[in-house]
Symmetry: C2
Subunit: 346 residues, 2 copies
DNA sequence: GTTAGCACTCTTGCTGATTGAGTGCTAACG
DNA sequence: CGTTAGCACTCAATCAGCAAGAGTGCTAAC
């Protein structure tokens, strides 16, 4: 059915979507024929439009307005019509420039990436910091705050620092803890968290017989330390940028979006999802799918460093974004951030 | 002049402000006499209102609307009329409850504090994490990421973890760095950052003659590590809460506020300022003073732990807030957070 | 299959009338 | 002399009515 779209239909659909992306207003048959020099009369275009509406690619907000692309329309556009431009050399260079003398700290780097995405797109940038599961450990440190409270500081190969407080009822003196720390840093350095966990399980099985040896308590402690996932934070930069879009003259929609930004769970979910797939992913908010970001889309791509740190970044903008420039922007930035992480890790 | 306000004027001003806080709409003479049982006719009230307007406590949005308090009006209200309620025992208990089994990590604790402030007030909570200048050092750690990049991890007495990447051109081998770390942790533990800085300066003067000793390089490194201020981050929680207030039906004002939240500098400034003073501070946004938060106020108080960690927290809401409950809420929370930090530090 | 023409629909912007809340002023009252 | 009642006036907000404009669907002709 969809595949039956002939050349003319596709041309017109593309024209409509591109007009809509530019103007944000429903596009009518007359205006369309004038702007793109289409060798067809408005009446013919109307017929085509009616077909496209029936097939679900377009809707009209009301009887006598023009047509607006539906989610399906966008999808089709993205999948088969859109020609992705290359990011111009100048633009790449200027983006690269931004990363030059800053973002020394991992966290700062990622925040900055979000800010740059936001600024260059004039939409909202989002960045999810790498989950540490697959990350290589460089050092693990235990700091005794009080008898029962121990602070664990974890440093990854790439300089990501995460910390966590655990309450333990295993008595460990200051010097025992010091010894434990040394042992663990030696043993774990160079392993990924996953591997460390496996190691702990294996060792603890072996040590089961031994009664409360220091090693045993040490292992138990590290098990607690790595119990829950570390990382997975999300930064949202330039949230207010998106509010300048005309579609957010609607107060309620605006509030809903802000609430979504505040809560972050949907974003985390989407960013996670896109981490599982290669390349640039696009999520279109619609009443059916991601109703919290109705009217908006997320263009996301994940970045990976050679050492296994994997995060995701992207841009949230109105669904009628100029994807042809936004997609390469996100793609390029993801690659850039990944490679900067690599440099940091050298 | 101001002090000439007689009993009746003050009564009426208070009534107007309280009405306005409740309704958010300009209050007229008739409505006022009815709601509060004032033994005066509307006409008399009108005369008083005219006086108050002339003195700058009230304005009217337009000729035939009621009166609205000015910044000066609020100030007077806050300074001399407002009776601050005690936070009810039940409420205190329920807030305390929230902090029970969570917020193990300093950062989480403060985020949570912001969230609770936001939730109980239904406005926006802000928290500035303690600046580390006056904080006592528990451990300082150097991790070598690459030849020239060294990660500094700083742990305070209270378990605050801060880290920073420095680029150094001092060659230090892995083992030298280890040695340095041990030395510094021993030496610095228990000192405040300020004291550490002084110590470094003193030592370096003494060591000047020595040519490139390990000690010298170590000190230089720590000097770089502590060069810039650590900390001072601001969390904003429940930003969207405030949007439900009727005054934010104005799109532009809304956008401006969101932009202010996004940028944070104004907030940092205000929170800093209020850190210098004891007790609850109130900043009223007006075209003159803090125009970025026009229509809003910040009620802030700083919290201190015995170990010197000092941060600030507060609530941002519309200027017409029920201060009588918000002020004790902020006050109580600041005290509570301070004492929780103390517990963590034991 | 394509197009011109036409009737129809629906939004948008404008106008003017109406309503209601509130003010300021003046004159009367105790 | 302070207080009050009365009255004219001002504005904002709301609503109906109207015209313009953009766009559609349908039909009949090309």
């Amino acid at each position: 059915m969809n595949e039956e779209l002939n050349e003319r239909c596709r041309l017109i659909l593309e024209a409509i979507i591109e007009d809509y992306i530019l103007s944000g207003e429903p596009v009518g048959s007359r205006a369309l024929t004038r702007r793109h020099n289409i060798a067809l009369s408005p009446a013919t275009v109307r017929n085509v439009m009616a077909d496209l509406e029936e097939m679900g690619f377009l809707t009209s907000p009301h009887t006598s307005a023009g047509r607006v692309p539906t989610e399906k329309g966008y999808r089709f556009y993205l999948d088969t019509l859109l020609q992705i431009k290359q990011l111009s050399l100048g633009k790449r260079q200027s983006i690269r420039e931004h990363y030059k003398h800053r973002g020394l700290r991992m966290e700062e780097l990622l925040r900055e990436a979000g800010r740059i995405l936001s600024a260059t797109s004039s939409y909202t940038g989002v960045v999810m910091v790498p989950h540490l599961t697959t990350t290589i450990c460089r050092r693990i440190d235990f700091v005794r705050l009080s008898a029962r409270r121990i602070l664990v500081v974890f440093v990854s190969q790439s300089g990501i620092v995460e910390h966590k407080l655990i309450e333990s009822d295993l008595p460990l003196t200051e010097s025992e803890l010091q010894e434990a720390t040394n042992y663990l840093s030696q043993t774990f350095s160079g392993l990924s968290i996953q591997e460390i966990k496996q190691y702990i399980v294996a060792q603890m099985a072996e040590e089961k017989a031994m009664y409360d040896s220091l090693l045993r308590r040490t292992l138990q402690l590290s098990s607690m330390a790595l119990e829950e996932e570390l990382g997975g934070q999300v930064f949202i930069e330039g949230a207010c940028n998106i509010l300048d879009q005309p579609e957010f003259n609607d107060l309620n929609r605006m509030k809903r979006l802000m609430r979504t930004f505040d809560q972050k769970n949907l974003l985390v979910e989407l960013l996670h999802k896109s981490q599982l797939t290669e390349g640039v992913q696009i999520y279109i908010g619609s009443p059916d799918h991601y109703s919290d970001i109705e009217g908006c889309s997320l263009v996301a791509a994940s970045f990976t460093s050679r050492w296994g740190a994997t995060g995701t970044l992207g841009i949230i903008g109105p669904t009628r974004m100029p994807y042809s420039t936004i997609i390469p922007l996100v793609d390029f930035t993801a690659g850039l951030v990944g490679s900067i992480l690599d440099i940091d890790e050298e």
